[in-house]
């Protein structure tokens, strides 16, 4: 009756062995990310860098990008990035932040409107001054740090300390790899990217929590089972759910990437990548990490005997 089965029933795959590949792999990628982050850096959008972004569309449906670039470079507002996108003659222009404080930015918009508004519609104009961009950087950073700390405390409260630490390591891993994705793909990094990272934090923990919930339950049932076996069992038990959820989430994100429009595409692509990374790290990073942290280290399995017996 069931048409699709993504994972066999009663599987006994040895996931813990994968750590021989996954640990070095993730370590290398993380270090590589740190290197490219320093050498290449993120492609900051105007939210964080300040400056002016414009999206204009040719009224004729045919944009003359070379002409726009020549004209815009002639404005004398510094290096301007001109890019065509979409199919209807849409062009984006990015001007760097202008020296001379907050009020100096307005001249850019004025000049561009005066020059292009005869032949082009202004679909989007965004100007962010130096002060606001500085504040956005601050609140974005605080947001990511705070969410990691808050979630750490939640997990500590709900689970044993060891499980909390292992999930946070997995989550940090996912954040690092997501930032690496931003660097390599040159996706613009802006406030929406922070939203994407926070959502990935949520999703990453969601994945780990489901596995660890099972681990905790099995720990109560099999009091003497070694950690490695216990973790393998937990992942095998939850594997069909993990795959199902990854697929449904990926499907809806795919719809966004394909049809959501240019403005939201970047967000959806990053999230899609995030879903893959989170699933990988829950299985191949956070869980095997527990073998080293020590699953029953503090022997803090807080469960009354009666209930453990009932679970058998």
């Amino acid at each position: 009756m069931r048409l699709i089965r993504l994972w066999p029933e009663n599987s006994h795959f040895d996931f813990m062995r994968l750590r021989r590949f996954s640990f070095p792999l993730s370590a290398v990628i993380s270090i590589a990310t740190a290197i490219v982050l320093v050498t290449i850096g993120l492609n900051f959008g105007i939210d964080f860098k300040g400056g002016t972004l414009m999206e204009i569309q040719a009224k004729s449906g045919q944009a003359d990008v070379a002409q726009i670039r020549r004209t815009a470079e002639g404005f004398g507002f510094g290096d301007v990035e001109v890019q065509e996108f979409g199919t209807g003659g849409e062009v984006s222009l990015r001007f760097p932040i202008q020296a001379g404080g907050e009020s100096a930015q307005a001249a850019v918009v004025q000049k561009a409107r005066d020059t292009f508004s005869n032949e082009y519609d202004f679909r989007r104009v965004e100007t962010v001054g130096p002060r606001v961009s500085g504040e956005l950087v601050q609140s974005g950073t605080i947001g990511v740090v705070l969410s990691v700390i808050a979630v750490l405390f939640y997990l500590w409260f709900r689970f044993e300390r060891e499980l909390a630490v292992a999930s946070i390591i997995g989550t940090l891993h996912d954040i690092v790899l997501t930032i690496g994705f931003f660097v390599i793909t040159r996706h613009e990094f802006n406030m929406t990217s922070i939203a994407a990272i926070l959502t990935i934090v949520g999703y990453s923990l969601n994945e780990t929590v489901v596995v660890f919930d099972r681990t905790r339950e099995l720990m109560r049932r099999y009091k003497t089972m070694p950690a490695e076996e216990l973790l393998n069992l937990s992942i095998n038990h939850t594997m069909s759910r993990t795959i199902m959820t990854a697929v449904t989430t990926a499907l809806s994100l795919l719809a966004l990437v394909l049809f959501g429009g240019q403005a939201i595409q970047g967000f959806a692509q990053v999230m899609l990548y995030g879903v893959v990374i989170c699933t990988y790290s829950a299985i191949c990073i956070s869980s095997p990490m527990l073998i080293y942290i020590g699953l029953r280290g503090s022997e803090s399995v807080k469960v009354p005997e009666g209930r453990a017996a009932a679970a058998e």
Partner: protein, 535 residues
């Protein structure tokens, strides 16, 4: 077991129906909503009729978002000038002279009075300038606005305290909001939203505004109008101010102000009957008319200086005494300039310059395209997920799909009641929610399957599946909720819209994935009495 009491079923269905009804107004456009509200019979109390609707963010309906900041330097400069005028008045009143005049120092002024007896007379009056901050009636005290320091050799320094400046900034933001509102209303713009943001900012949002150039021109001027006289040769107390017509050339203008913007009762754009030039006609109040009449009588033949924000915008020669209390400002203005000038004069002056620190404008075309793209993505995502769930879980998949559709409906219902703002990232949130909402169903179904496989009967397997999956559902949704809450508090505008959708989505999951699904499965079981699981 799998029995649901009738009352529980009724309660669940009622909550869901109400939630979905609340979303109804959001599905209509403005005219339809009006027609629908008119069609409701009047005997139904209005609070029973769902009338609130989701607000579209500026990124979806198009419009302008302009963030203005009170220029603290400018404000402080103005405050120091006031302080200096006060000190000068007090020195005159008490007949005390300062040895080196009144010096401007950082944040205040300084005078030098070596004679102790003079100081004795002066100090009580100076202390009056330092007012306590905060509401005296409530007994709050935030210290004093001005700090007075005296050295033994007679140097007296008056400086604004931090608290004094902060208080002034706070008041300046309040005043600015009023002035900004009057200026925007004067342009005939519909439904602007003007609100304080943070300590020193004003956020202006104008839906539908495509080119905020005029708005920015209006808000960029302080609007401080003064009528003074051009100084004669040899005059001392003068300011050198740029002249608008003469290419910014500076001219000497007397410090004394005859009348100012606050003395005007009206200002209207017009055309000069002879030259056909755009001009502004204005009318003084009684005090202004009197002072202006007297000054023009005494200074026949001299040149007036009409000063706007420290620029001489016009310098007409006084041909005859102007005692009627009205006059005109002419110069080489365009029609747009006189329109703006008239608005500036009518709305009054801002307490300090406002600087634009952020501007975001979205044209209506882009907003419309975004909505269309968002709708399409939502439908496609729903079809993908619905088909996939059905293919995987059969009848249970259908039940999960019903729960999913109700879930999305409830998000819209809640957003309508809260009159929450739907932004483009918010739409992305809804699409993402479609993918993650079924997670709870998946957790439950997989658990049921495990339980049944380990030897339980269907009924007890379903029961155990729900019970055991519940803790996991709570944990996995809580971690998501924590991330979303932080995003809500730190994000602004569009990103906050994403957080709202996500938080509401997590709340409604509990109703749909747990309660509704359980009920539907129970009903299905009672009806079919199956011997094996359908997946």
């Amino acid at each position: 077991m799998l029995r649901f009491s009738r009352s529980k079923i009724i309660a669940t269905v009622a909550i869901i129906v109400i939630g979905l009804l609340l979303a109804v107004p959001s599905t209509m456009n403005r005219e339809q909503r009006q027609a629908y509200l008119n069609a409701i019979p009047s005997w139904i109390p209005s609070w029973l009729v769902p009338s609130r609707a989701i607000v579209l963010g500026l990124d979806l309906q198009g419009g302008s978002h302009v963030l203005l900041e009170v220029d603290q330097q400018d404000l402080l400069r103005g405050q120091i000038t006031l302080l200096r005028d006060d000190v000068r008045r007090i020195l005159r009143d008490t007949r005390v002279s300062s040895q080196n005049g009144i010096q401007t120092v950082q944040r205040g002024v300084q005078i030098r009075v070596p004679d102790a007896a003079d100081r004795e007379r002066l100090m009580p009056r100076l202390r009056e300038l330092s007012q306590p901050i905060g509401n005296a009636m409530l007994g709050q005290s935030g210290g004093n606005s001005v700090q007075i320091n005296t050295t033994p050799d007679g140097v007296i320094t008056l400086t604004y305290t931090d608290a004094g400046i902060n208080e002034r900034v706070r008041r300046a933001v309040d005043q600015s909001i009023e002035v900004v509102r009057r200026r925007i209303d004067a342009t005939g713009t519909t439904e602007p939203s003007i609100q304080r943001q943070g300590a020193d900012r004003v956020l202006v949002q104008v839906p539908g505004l495509q080119d905020p150039q005029q708005l920015k021109a209006l808000l960029g001027e302080t609007g401080n109008l003064e009528f003074r006289l051009l100084a004669q040769a040899g005059a001392t107390d003068v300011d050198m101010l740029p002249m608008q017509d003469a290419g910014g050339q500076r001219v000497p203008v007397e410090r004394r102000v005859i009348a100012e913007g606050g003395d005007l009762t009206d200002a209207q754009p017009a055309f000069d009957s002879q030259t056909r030039q755009p001009i502004v006609n204005f009318r003084f109040n009684i005090r202004g008319a009197q002072r202006f009449g007297q000054a023009t009588t005494e200074n026949l033949g001299r040149q007036l200086a009409i000063v706007l924000d420290n620029r001489v915008i016009s310098a007409p020669t006084i041909q005859s005494p102007i005692t009627g209390g009205s006059g005109q400002i002419s110069g080489s203005f365009t029609v747009e300039q006189v329109n703006n000038l008239a608005v500036l004069l009518r709305s009054g002056a801002l307490p300090a310059k406002l600087t634009i620190v952020e501007e975001r404008t979205v044209g209506p075309g882009l907003g419309r395209d975004s909505i269309e793209a968002g709708k399409l993505a939502t439908y496609v995502a729903a079809v993908f997920v619905v088909l996939f769930m059905f293919a995987t879980y059969g009848v249970f998949g259908l039940i999960a799909n019903i729960a999913l559709l109700v879930h999305v409906g409830l998000i819209f219902g809640l957003m309508s009641v809260l009159e929450a703002t739907l932004t483009l990232p918010g739409i992305a949130g809804i699409v993402l929610t479609i993918g993650t909402a079924v997670d709870s169903n998946v957790l439950i179904y997989e658990r049921i399957r495990e339980e049944v496989r380990s030897g339980r009967s269907i009924v007890s397997g379903i029961q155990a599946g729900f019970d055991r999956a519940f803790a996991t559902i709570v944990d996995s949704n809580s971690t998501m909720a924590i991330a979303a809450l932080i995003l809500f508090f730190l994000g602004s505008g569009p990103v906050r819209g994403f957080a709202v959708v996500f938080i509401l989505g997590i709340l409604t999951t509990v109703i749909t994935a747990v309660t509704l699904t359980r009920m539907l499965i129970a009903l299905w079981y009672q009806w079919m009495r199956p011997k094996v699981l359908p997946f």
